[in-house]
């Protein structure tokens, strides 16, 4: 037959009409064993700002990558303080896909994330602090260089400082260079830090 023109009959029908379904019904659908039903529910709930708490609670337990993805996309669209509160605990998740999804989402909510940065960087778990630095590494917020400067000045963990150093190579201004030199002194026995500080300073100076 080769080329045929699409006919009305060949167009798949629309999905279940969600207009009459309420938030509770969609939230209940998130418990379905059928991935497509959960994805459709997540899509519908993404248009309901009041559902943020329920969606975030579900996200931590959702196993399907496609459902996770549409939930995160919906949360990015809402980008509210409630969304940030719901996503922050995921920085401590053992699930790398979920954690990275949360990091990418948070990177797109600079104004909403800003009030939480101090607490994120003070987390007792150094891994969580590294992921907090990851959030800052692509956060479009003018305070980022200062937040990162505080990390390299104050954080006791070498890996957290190394992550911040890496981010400062891109985001840092010349004012941060003295803090980097002090970092090199603080970890004078760590060859990697010496190398990374030199590279970051060169990058920041632009020569």
């Amino acid at each position: 037959m080769a080329l045929v023109r699409r006919t009305a009959a060949s167009v798949a029908g629309l999905e279940r009409d969600g207009a009459l379904r309420g938030q509770e019904q969609w939230l209940a659908d998130l418990a379905s064993n059928d991935t497509s039903i959960r994805r459709q529910a997540a899509q519908a709930l993404s248009r309901m700002p009041d559902a943020v708490a329920g969606i975030c609670a579900h996200l931590a337990n959702e196993r399907s990558l496609s459902v996770r993805s549409i939930i995160l996309t919906g949360l990015i669209v809402h980008k509210s303080p409630a969304v940030v509160r719901g996503l922050l605990p995921l920085l401590g998740s053992e699930d790398a896909n979920l954690r990275n999804g949360a990091i990418e989402a948070l990177q797109q909510m600079p104004d909403e994330v800003a009030p939480h940065v101090e607490a994120m960087l003070a987390d007792p778990d150094s891994d969580v602090r590294i992921f907090a630095v990851d959030v800052l590494s692509a956060l479009p917020h003018p305070m980022v260089p200062e937040w990162l400067r505080r990390v390299v000045t104050l954080d006791p963990h070498v890996n957290v400082c190394a992550a911040a150093l890496d981010a400062l190579a891109e985001a840092g201004q010349p004012e941060v260079i003295p803090a980097l030199e002090k970092l090199a002194d603080r970890f004078s026995d760590v060859a990697f830090i010496q190398f990374a500080v030199d590279a970051a300073i060169r990058r920041i100076r632009g020569r």
Partner: protein, 285 residues
Amino acid sequence: MNMPLAPTTPVISDEEFAKFCEFFYRKTGIMFDTQKKYFAERRITDRMARLGCATFREYFATIRFEASGEEMQRLVNQMTVNETYFFREDYQLKALVAGILPDLAARRRKGQPIRIWSVPCSSGEEPYSLAIYILENWADADRHDIEILASDIDSAILAAAAAGVYTERSLQRLSPDLIRRYFTRQKDNGYRISDDIRGSIDFSQGNVVDPPFMRTFRGVDVIFCRNMLIYFDDQSRRETVEAMYDCLSPGGYICLGHSESMSRISSLFRPRKYADSIIYQKPFE
């Protein structure tokens, strides 16, 4: 007004250019090697002049920290050259007939059409190229029903697509034989595509960020979405890809433009390599 650069045109050092390249690549997937420095530098310095930035450092801070991302998007627009013509980026058309269509055909139930969607279709060169290329290069074309859908947000450009009249420049990649068989020369020197091909394309007007419009596309096997997402902001890009995911059948494919990469938008799709092209496949989940 486009102000000419003053004699004190700011110079971007190699170190600054390296920093810019890493950042720009992370954000867009577009990579500049040192040979392209002049190309990129001219566009950056143009944007700097327009914004009144005295140094590259000042300009870089703008694109790095501006929450709206507006200046970054303007720069992307400057860096990308978009021109449409028949058989553009034909390595993807080769991938279509060498790998994608055989794969889809092998999984097809009898009588089930293969549905290909060109969006945005602009003035029609892409959907018509798909039709011609398939007819000319896929030996099994006659054994399957192939639907080609084509959409664009711009109703004027869509009307031009449906009219199917092109300049010689648009046809520059086609052999004289293909032009002779698929086009008719017009009195004004334009070329009109054959009625058979024109009538086989289902044109529709709509916006990919409009959910009701996107819900009218289901069971699509291949989406050609080239050189559009790069002009979207992060959020719209992500929403559009999610919507396209729902448009596709399990195992369906998305073809992006040469400077676009799905890995910067979504991890939902699996990269596949066909005929030297990276195509993105929806899992069968």
